[in-house]
């Protein structure tokens, strides 16, 4: 009997003691996705700025990434609405990619929502961090499962050499009626988007893109990084009212220019 009581007592103490030990042990810094990369990501990108985890920043990927070189991703901060003066900036990062930063998006006059495809090197949290104009960060994220390897093999146009004849060509189309109160712009820029992590192929990727109107005003601005998929196809939402004609301008990290007309 004594022995049984001792065991019960020890068990009870263990249970009481467990909670504080656990909290001290949480090396994810309170990350709802439980990722130990989160504290360093936060330090690197958000520094000491105020942040909170928020469902208002939706990150949508398939539960399993069937093609790790082209993982469909939609980030949507529209639910933040006018909170904090509206979304100023959206950063997308992948915790476990060898290159973690995917893009930085300034919606400007477009809506704070964006879809594109990315590469995944292994299963990882994928995060969108939205900063509102009051300085507050709102962080959403999701786990994407993957067999992996998407960052370290050459893309199709690199493997067959076809990228040379299509480099920086632009296709665009504006669709109506996809979402209330906006026009959808889908843009494709032909580019190998080499990560620099496939043997013998240096990093070669589009660094920045922006959509400008005839008066030179930017409607959105995008900084891209290596994990964006080859020949990126990007989807934006523009206000229903506004110019019918724009230019898409930008350049890659070798200084090649992108400049094309985009019109309805």
């Amino acid at each position: 009997m004594l022995r049984r009581r001792d065991v019960l007592l020890a068990g009870g103490l263990g249970a009481v003691g467990a909670r504080p030990v656990c909290a001290a042990d949480d090396r994810s810094g309170g990350d709802p996705l439980g990722s130990m990369q989160w504290p360093s990501l936060r330090r690197q990108y958000l520094a000491d700025a105020p942040m909170r985890f928020s469902d208002a920043v939706a990150v949508r990927t398939p539960a399993f990434a069937d093609d790790a070189m082209n993982v469909p991703l939609q980030v949507d901060a529209r639910a933040l609405g006018a909170a904090g003066g509206g979304v100023q900036r959206l950063l997308v990062v992948v915790d476990r990619n060898p290159i973690r930063e995917v893009l930085a998006f300034e919606p400007l006059r477009a809506l704070p929502v964006l879809a594109l495809r990315i590469r995944l090197e292994q299963a990882s949290p994928v995060r969108a961090m939205a900063q509102t104009r009051d300085g507050q960060w709102h962080v959403g994220g999701v786990w994407a499962q993957a067999a992996g390897g998407g960052c370290t093999v050459p893309g199709a146009s690199r493997a067959d050499g076809s990228w040379k004849s299509t480099l920086n060509q632009v296709q665009a189309r504006i669709f109506r009626n996809m979402a209330d109160g906006s026009r959808r712009l889908r843009v494709r820029v032909m580019h190998p988007m080499d990560t620099g992590l496939a043997a013998g192929i240096p990093a070669f990727y589009i660094e920045r893109l922006e959509l400008v109107d005839a008066g030179g005003q930017a409607w959105w601005r995008l900084a891209l990084h290596e994990p964006v998929s080859e020949n990126p196809l990007m989807t934006f939402e523009l206000p229903s009212e506004g110019p019918q004609a724009f230019r898409l301008q930008g350049q890659d990290n070798n200084g090649n220019r992108i400049d094309a007309e985009v019109r309805t």
Binding site: P62, A63, D66, P72, Q145, A159, A172, M178, L233
Partner: protein, 332 residues
């Protein structure tokens, strides 16, 4: 191009943990569960016609729980030797299949057929090294080209079940022909669409069609090597043969054995629905990430391998439709 093609291939055979859970809930009632402790698939031949048995796999996606045994294999004891249809996903499956057949019939096995190039159709060939293993020429070329990738991928998905498995392509290239064995008349015919070379076998004596991957029943079709237009044409051909009375019982590789044209109609319905969904969505400007979350119609909702198999097909095919929607803008 090779790298990208390999990716699609691996992706097509890959799967997510979530899909597992959903598939388990729908586990086939007929097939006993594999035992992962003893690596025993618990293969149980079930007689479906005179001299004819199937060994039913789980109506699910590949998983550790089912040992990657999701295929229906079959055999016919013709009186002039046993004909085996497909050899399962692993060396282990082939060995256990041999023993299961020997428990049912004392007749020696004379021929082994692989109906197409997919891993669960032929990875058991290793256990049949002393028998003639045969497939259509295009299937053999595919087995040779992709066998190593299949091994890797199934190891990743199913672990120990795959131990010691080495892809062993069929050795003999088969021509379409009629085989008369005992009282059985076996029509071996080439169709295509599910893969580049789809072998179907009709036993006109018993009226059984071994449809391979051309017909799925209550299970989402797999598409990594598919050509939808050719597949639909092949389904029309099969339906014609059925209407002519060439067969009445259908053994699909995935899904329950059934009478009549149900599986043919279901497979056609799915392929046509999927094609229309992708075409319409692309024209509206829907992004792949959105389409992957689109609901499936009620009539498909109970099928096995959802959403995993649908996601693979959309990932494989929809980007081309998106590109074509941009090309149409350029032509305006």
């Amino acid at each position: 191009m090779r790298a990208a093609a390999a990716w699609l291939l691996l992706a097509a055979l890959a799967q997510g943990a979530q899909a597992d859970v959903q598939a388990d809930a729908r586990a086939g009632a007929a097939a006993p569960r594999a035992d992962a402790q003893t690596l025993d698939y618990r293969l149980q031949p079930r007689r479906i016609a005179e001299h004819t048995w199937v060994i039913e796999g789980a109506v699910e996606d590949f998983s550790r729980a089912n040992g990657c045994n999701i295929i229906n294999t079959a055999f016919i004891a013709t009186g002039e030797g046993v004909v085996v249809v497909n050899t399962g996903p692993s060396r282990l499956y082939g060995e256990q299949q041999r023993r299961a057949i020997a428990r049912v019939t004392a007749e020696p096995v004379r021929q082994v057929f692989n109906l197409n190039l997919h891993p669960d159709y032929f990875l058991g060939n290793q256990a049949w090294g002393d028998k003639p293993t045969q497939a259509l020429a295009g299937s053999i070329a595919g087995m040779q080209a992709e066998g190593a990738a299949y091994e890797d991928n199934l190891y990743r998905l199913c672990g120990d079940w795959m131990r010691g498995t080495r892809a062993t392509p069929a050795r003999g290239a088969l021509q379409p022909q009629t085989l008369r064995l005992g009282r059985h008349v076996l029509e071996l015919r080439r169709l295509h669409g599910h893969t580049g070379d789809d072998l179907v076998l009709i036993d006109t004596h018993t009226g059984v069609l071994f449809a391979g991957g051309l017909v799925f029943a209550e299970r989402v079709p797999t598409t990594p090597h598919a050509d939808p237009a050719a597949w639909l044409a092949s389904l029309d051909t099969l339906e014609q043969w059925r209407a002519q009375g060439q067969f009445r019982l259908v053994v699909p590789s995935h899904g329950p054995v059934h009478e009549g044209g149900r599986g043919i109609a279901q497979t056609r319905d799915w392929l046509q629905w999927l094609a229309a969904l992708m075409r319409d969505s692309a024209e509206q400007g829907v992004d792949l990430s959105e389409l992957l979350r689109a609901p499936v119609p009620e009539r498909f909702a109970g099928w096995a391998a959802l959403p995993a198999e649908l996601n693979r097909s959309l990932t494989q095919w929809y980007p081309r439709q998106e590109q074509q929607a941009l090309d149409r803008r350029d032509r305006r």
